[in-house]
Symmetry: C2
Subunit: 116 residues, 2 copies
Amino acid sequence: MGKQMTEMLKGTLEGMILAILAVRPAYGYEITARLRDEGFSDIVEGTVYAVLIRIEKRDLVDVEKVPSEKGPPRKVYSLNAQGGEYLEEFWGTWSFLAARIAQLKQHIEDTQEKGE
Amino acid sequence: MGKQMTEMLKGTLEGMILAILAVRPAYGYEITARLRDEGFSDIVEGTVYAVLIRIEKRDLVDVEKVPSEKGPPRKVYSLNAQGGEYLEEFWGTWSFLAARIAQLKQHIEDTQEKGE
DNA sequence: ACCACTAAATAGTAACACTGAATAGCGGTC
DNA sequence: GACCGCTATTCAGTGTTACTATTTAGTGGT
């Protein structure tokens, strides 16, 4: 990860993982692979597991241990009601921030065009 | 600040401040006030000054001390060439992340509509 | 026995925004 | 002339976060 991306993921990675779980339950290794596929190419398992442990402690997800044919048992996480609420809050916070930043960017572009 | 927003600002507040400086030079107290006006209502001076000191150390900005009629001298920051490059990089990182998150959100909405 | 892949956990580190307080300069009021 | 309000900057200490690097564990193949 670039350093900028690393810092930007603070506060968003958690929401992204909750968003993934909102679509359907998943386990850590799977989530890591999906994030890698979606362009976060050098995200490491350890990072994802840390988030999962955190959201489990906060009771935002339910956990079920499911045996795997290919290795040790999987811990399958699914979003619960409290996690759903938290995710809604996340969208609100994100939307606000994204709108402000878009506004700042627009302001720069306007300035450069006509010298403000 | 809400806790979610606090975490989300990590990695973005710096970019936002650079973006403000890209429009025109400004000093810390002024930047704080502007951020407050734009909806980040409980941002505190200390936070902004910490960012300013950081970006000064990294040589992303030029600094000029300007006397004030109303108090101690102002430290007016302006974006330099290196800061401009860094800001460009920030927009790239931000755009990528924002696109991914928008995609995740869309995916949830699609799923909820027709059961995926 | 060894390796490759899957799967989870963990101790230690660096970076960041926040808290709370201190310092400093100016104007006005009582 | 001591005090308050506003402007303006700084700084030590804290909590949270993602990252690094390693360890442990299970299965199947050679």
